[in-house]
Amino acid sequence: MIVKKAVALLILGMIFFASLFYISSLPSYVTGLERFVYEMIPLVIVMFMLYIILY
């Protein structure tokens, strides 16, 4: 089970950093709800990682 969790965290970690990179290069014309959705992606992933670690 621990190995499965470790692999899952590794995959999620990679996605987390990829999404951070994507947000940092997000064009300035992307604003409002569209930008909010993009910026929520790493947060959702972090929450999921925390869920996997804690449970």
Binding site: P27, E34, I41, V44, F48, Y55
Partner: protein, 240 residues
Amino acid sequence: MDMKKLMLLLPIIFSFAVSLAQYIPNETANIIVQTSDVWGNSIDNANCSAYIFDPDFNLVYSNTLTYRNGFYVSNFTVPEKYGTYLEYVECNVTLYGKPKTIKSAKTFYVSSAFDVIERQLREYVSNVTLNVSVSVTGNITEAVEKAQEDIVGLLLALHSTPETGTYCINDTARMVIKTATWHINDRDYNITKREIEYCEYGCNNVTGECIASPANRTLTLVFIAIGLAVLLFIVWRFVV
């Protein structure tokens, strides 16, 4: 009116040819003149002189042409001053015992090798600005002729070359800059291609790129969201 007088009224065909209409400074160019009567017989007793006037109409060259195999020829070194030159030839012929003077004029253009290449390239491409710099070794005339083919090939390659620079001109247009360096046949070509691109949904001043259409942006977001949801579901299903 006797036959001889009637023949004098017949026009004399006077053809005047130069090998090229465009020259590069210090290149050797030929003046070739042919005089013939209406029956096509060449007149070999003409006394032809050539005069070349620079763009300011100053006489820069004058010489008597030499008769060779039916043609009156001479060569001259192209002056260094850029612009349109006037090439003027005057031939004195004696036809049926009567002296007659026939004249002809033609223009040619002198410019740098770069200008010649650029001008030729503009015939192939439109809506773009090109800066071409060429280092030429050897015979300059041959180099320019070969360079034309080479650079046209390079232009085609430029279509698949990534942009090296871009900036917004205004809200609806951007300037795309593509640069490339090519080395072939001991020559270096540095080409900068500038192309104006229309941006339907506006131009991003920070990146200089066209703004994607709202439909495409929404579609991208939906795909990312779906992909993420599927990934999280898989992780949750098999790990937790």
